[in-house]
Amino acid sequence: MDLLRASIADIGQQLRKKQISSLEITQYFLQRIAAHNSKINAFVTSNDNAEREASDVDQKLARGELLGPLSGIPVGIKDMLCTKGIRTTAASHILKNFVPPYDATVVSRLKRSGAVILGKLNQDEFAMGSSNENSIFGATKNPWNLDFVPGGSSGGSAAAQASRLCAATIGTDTGGSIRQPASFCNVVGVKPTYGRVSRFGVIAYASSLDQAGPIASCVEDAALILEVISGFDQFDSTTSNQKVPEFSKNLNKNIKGLRIGLMKEYMMGGLHPDVEKTIALAVEDLKRMGCEIVEVSVPLTAQAVPMYYLIAASEASSNLSRYDGVKYGHRASFENLSKTSLEEFYMRTRGQGFGVEVKRRIMLGTYCLSSGYYDAYYKKACQVRRLMAEQFQNCFNSCDLILGPVSTAPAFRIGEKLSDPLSMYLNDVFTVSANLAGVPGLSIPYGISIDNLPIGIQLMANHFDEQKMLNVGYALQETSPMTWRIPNV
C-alpha cells in the first residue's frame, strides 16, 4: 500500500487484515527519516526501541489481543513532552542530557492506544518562538523549501508530518505553536480547548495557555489522535471532566446551515494577498456548502499580542525557575564549587543554559511580576484577558465557528526575522487569541503562495466544541486544493 498517502485508519485496516505488519510500517518511516531528516532536521532524538515496540504490537496482534485505534502507528513527539527513557530537552542546553523517568499523560495514552514512538521532534527552545530557529539542535527547515522556516514552535512536528517522516505527530500550542507551523507546512493542526488535554509531563512554558495537540496529515487523523489524548487526568488539576466525543467516528461533512463568523478585526488589511485569496476561497466554498457567513467582532484583538506576551512571559519566568543546575540538567562547571557563591552558581548555570529568546522572555516576565509593576502589567493583562474571553463568548452567540487566517503571510526565510523579535511577535496576532480565550483552534491547508509555500486557514470554536470545528474542517478538506499535497523532499 502507499503509506505515504494513507490515513491512520487506512493503515490500521491493512494491519488488521495482516497485509502489512507493524514492524514494516515502522521500518518504512524509519527509512524515510534516515533518507530525509538530515535535510529537514525535524527529528532530534530517536527511540532506539522503536522496532522492538513495533514487533510487540505484531505479537499482540497475532495473539488476538485487544488493540487500540493507534496500534502500530508510528508517531513523533515534540521534545516538549516527557518520554520515559528517551531524552527530552525542550531544545534547550539546560536540559541537554535530561532523560525523564516518566511519560507525559499524552504519551502514555498514545502508547496505551498502541502507537509506536519513533522519536522526539525539534522545536523552538521551551516553545518560545514562531520559526523553530531558537533550538540547540539548529533550525528545522520547511520541506516545501529548505530556505524557509517551518514555523514554530512545533516546527519539527509540522515539518516531519509534511514530509511524512511519521504517520502523525504531537505538538504543543501556547500562542499558535501548532496551528502556525501546520499552516506553513500544509498539514492539519489542532489546538484543543484549554483543559481538554492533560499538561502532565508537558514541559511548562505558560501554564494557563499551554495545550498539546495533534499535527497530522488529514482531519480524520487529527480527530482520532485528539480523541485518544483527550480527557480528565488525575495528575493535572486543570483538565476538564467533560466527556470526550468520538471525534473521528462523529465526523460529518454535512455542514449546511452552520453560521461561520468572519472576524472584522482579522480582515482589516495587512494580510499577504495570497492569504487573503485563500480566505476568500474558503468563504466561497463554505457558502456553496450551505453555510451562512456572518460578521463578528472581538474588539480587544488589537491588544491580544501584548496581552499574550505579558502573561506568557510572566508565567514562563516562574516555570523556568526550576532549571537551576541543582537537581538535574545542565550545571556550569566551576573551578572550585565550594568557594562559589550561590548567586554565581545560578547566574553561570542559567546564563549558559538558556538561549537568547528564552532569556528575553524570562526578563520580561520577571519585570511584569515585580512589585510595583504587577498591577500595571500582569494583573491588567489578566483582566483584559477575561474581557476578551467574554467578547469571544459574544461572538459564539451569533456564530458556530470563527474563520480566519492563521498567519499574516506564508513562511518566511530562515534568518529573515531573527534580528527583529517584535515583527516575529506580531505574526502571532491571529493565533494567540484562542489561547487567551481558552477556545479550540484548527489549522487546515487551503492555499499556496506564488512562491509555492502553503497557506492554511484557521477555524475557532467555542469551548469543548471541537467536533463542530473538525466537521467543517472535514468538509473543507474536500474542497481544499491543497488536500494531501506532499512536498518533494
Partner: protein
C-alpha cells in the same frame, strides 16, 4: 515593662498538618524516611510535573480555622512565591497570598492566672521547602520535607511579654493537637515560630521598628529569644540608636539573636496566582459538616471537667492540657467511678512514670482499665493506698492487672479483726514503756504504734482497722 518600654510581639507559627501524603503529591510525609526517599517527580520539581491539591489539607485547615475562631474563605486560590534556593525544587513555593483560607480568629491564653485574648489575623495553606545541611565546604539537600503541608498562623501584635508569647504558642499547639491536625512535635519541626518584636515607650501608641526572629523551634527558645531581643532593642534605644528593620536568627547556644538580612535586601517574591491549580471552593455544607465533627476544645473540656466531675480548677487544667491525657482520665473515670482519685493518681504516680520513661500517655503500659481496676480495689478496701503504689509500679513494669499482682504476691489487705488484734497485742506488750507514755498524754505515739503494726503485717493490714483497734486497746 522594660526600663520604661513595653514590647509588642506577634508570632507567625508554621504548623505541619499531619496528613499522610504531601500537599500536592502522593509522597508520604513520614519524618523517619531515608534521605530523599519521599520524592516523587512532583516533589523533585521535574520538568512537566504538576501539583494536585490534597483535599485533606483543606479539611484540616478548615478544622484549625474553626478551632481558632476564624472566618473561612469560600473561594481559595494558591499563589506562587518565587525565589531561588537549592532546597526549593521548583524555584517557587506554592502558598496563599492575599486570600488566606482563615481570617479574623482569636485564642484565649492564661498568663499569671489572667485570661488574655490574642487575635489571629490569618492562617494560610502552603508547602514546606526541603532541608539544606551544610557540611563545611559542601551542602546536601534532602527534599523529603519539600511539599509537606503547612498552615501558617499569624497573630496580631497583641502579645506584650516573652511569657505571653510562649503561652500563646503553647495554646496554639494544644488546640491543633486537640483537633488532631498537627502532632505538635517540636523536635521533628512540626511547629516552628517566627517572632516579630518591637518596643516602644510605655504609654505611646505608635509602634516601634519591627525585627523578625526566624525559625525558633521550641517554646523555651521563643521566650528566651524574645527576652534577648527586647533587651537588645531597649539597650539600643537608650543609647539613642535606631532599630533597623531586619530579620534575625536566634542562636540558642549563645542565647542571642544575630542579623540575617536587612529590609534593604528583602526579596521581591513576585507573587502571582498559580495557574496549575484551580480555585478551591469551600461550601457552607462542608464547613457545617466539619464543625459538627470538631472535637471538644481544651477550654470547653476544662470547664466540663470542673462542672461534671467536680474537679478543682487546677486538676482540670492539668488533666486537659493534652487531649490524650484528658481522654485517659475520662476512660479511667468511666470505670473507676471516682474522678478525684483518678485525677490524683494520674497527676502523681502516672505522670511520674510517664516522665521517667519519657513516653506519651497513650503509650502507657498501664491502661485506663488497669488503673481503674487498681482504684476500685482501694475503694473496696481490698488493698491500702500504700500497697496500691507498689502494685502500680508492678503493673507498670509487668503489664499485669492489679488483681493478678495482688494474688501472685499475696498482698490482700488483712481485714481479719482477730488477726490484727493479735499483732496489736504483741506490739503493745513489746513496747510497754511507750504505752505508758501514751497513756500519760503523748498521744502522738499513736503513729509509732500504727507504723509498727503495719511493718509487722508487711503493710497488708487495713489502716482503718489498725487505728480503730489501737485506739480501742490504748484507751483501756
Amino acid at each position: 515593662m522594660y526600663r520604661g518600654y513595653e514590647a509588642v510581639i506577634g508570632l507567625e507559627i508554621h504548623a505541619q498538618l499531619s496528613t499522610k501524603s504531601k500537599i500536592f503529591s502522593e509522597d508520604a510525609t513520614a519524618f523517619d524516611a531515608g534521605d530523599n526517599e519521599n520524592l516523587s517527580l512532583v516533589s523533585a520539581g521535574l520538568p512537566g510535573a504538576l501539583p494536585v491539591l490534597n483535599r485533606k489539607v483543606v479539611e484540616f485547615s478548615i478544622q484549625a480555622g474553626l478551632a481558632l475562631g476564624c472566618e473561612i474563605r469560600r473561594k481559595n486560590t494558591f499563589a506562587r512565591k518565587n525565589y531561588f534556593y537549592p532546597d526549593l525544587p521548583k524555584g517557587y513555593q506554592i502558598s496563599q497570598y492575599d486570600e488566606p483560607i482563615c481570617e479574623n480568629g482569636r485564642v484565649i491564653i492564661f498568663v499569671g492566672g489572667q485570661e488574655k485574648t490574642i487575635r489571629i489575623i490569618r492562617a494560610h495553606m502552603e508547602e514546606d521547602a526541603g532541608k539544606s545541611t551544610h557540611f563545611g565546604e559542601y551542602t546536601l539537600v534532602n527534599y523529603n520535607r519539600a511539599g509537606v503541608p503547612l498552615l501558617e498562623i499569624v497573630s496580631a501584635p497583641d502579645l506584650r511579654t516573652p511569657e505571653e508569647a510562649a503561652e500563646y504558642a503553647k495554646t496554639i499547639r494544644q488546640i491543633l493537637k486537640y483537633i488532631g491536625v498537627c502532632d505538635g512535635n517540636l523536635e521533628e519541626g512540626s511547629l516552628r515560630c517566627d517572632c516579630n518584636v518591637s518596643v516602644r515607650p510605655v504609654g505611646t501608641a505608635e509602634l516601634g521598628t519591627k525585627v523578625e526572629i526566624k525559625n525558633v523551634n521550641s517554646f523555651r527558645f521563643v521566650e528566651k529569644a524574645i527576652e534577648y531581643e527586647i533587651e537588645r532593642q531597649v539597650d539600643a534605644l537608650e543609647r539613642k540608636e535606631k532599630i533597623i528593620q531586619e530579620t534575625r536568627l536566634y542562636d540558642s547556644d549563645k542565647n542571642r539573636t544575630v542579623p540575617m538580612r536587612t529590609k534593604e535586601d528583602a526579596q521581591d517574591y513576585r507573587y502571582f496566582p498559580d495557574p496549575d491549580l484551580l480555585p478551591v471552593i469551600i461550601t457552607d455544607e462542608m464547613i457545617k459538616e466539619i464543625h459538627l465533627h470538631l472535637p471538644e476544645l481544651p477550654s470547653a473540656r476544662k470547664k466540663r471537667f470542673i462542672e461534671h466531675y467536680g474537679l478543682p480548677e487546677y486538676d482540670a487544667i492539668m488533666l486537659t492540657a493534652e487531649k490524650e491525657y484528658a481522654d485517659y482520665f475520662e476512660a479511667t473515670t468511666k470505670i473507676s467511678s471516682n474522678p478525684k482519685s483518678t485525677a490524683n493518681w494520674m497527676m502523681t504516680e502516672l505522670t511520674r512514670e510517664l516522665n521517667q520513661a519519657n513516653i506519651e500517655v497513650d503509650k502507657s503500659p498501664v491502661s485506663p482499665a488497669g488503673l481503674a481496676g487498681l482504684l476500685k480495689l482501694i475503694d473496696q478496701g481490698i488493698i491500702s493506698g500504700k500497697i496500691a503504689k507498689t502494685v502500680f509500679n508492678d503493673m507498670w513494669s509487668t503489664g499485669k492487672s492489679a488483681e493478678e499482682i495482688i494474688k501472685d504476691k499475696n498482698l490482700t489487705q488483712i481485714s481479719d479483726r482477730a488477726a490484727i488484734e493479735k499483732i496489736v497485742d504483741e506490739i503493745l506488750s513489746q513496747n510497754s514503756k511507750s504505752v505508758l507514755e501514751y497513756k500519760s498524754g503523748r498521744t502522738k505515739l499513736l503513729g509509732f504504734f500504727v507504723g509498727a503494726v503495719m511493718k509487722a503485717t508487711k503493710g497488708q493490714a487495713s489502716p482503718d482497722l489498725v487505728n480503730q483497734i489501737l485506739l480501742d486497746k490504748l484507751k483501756r
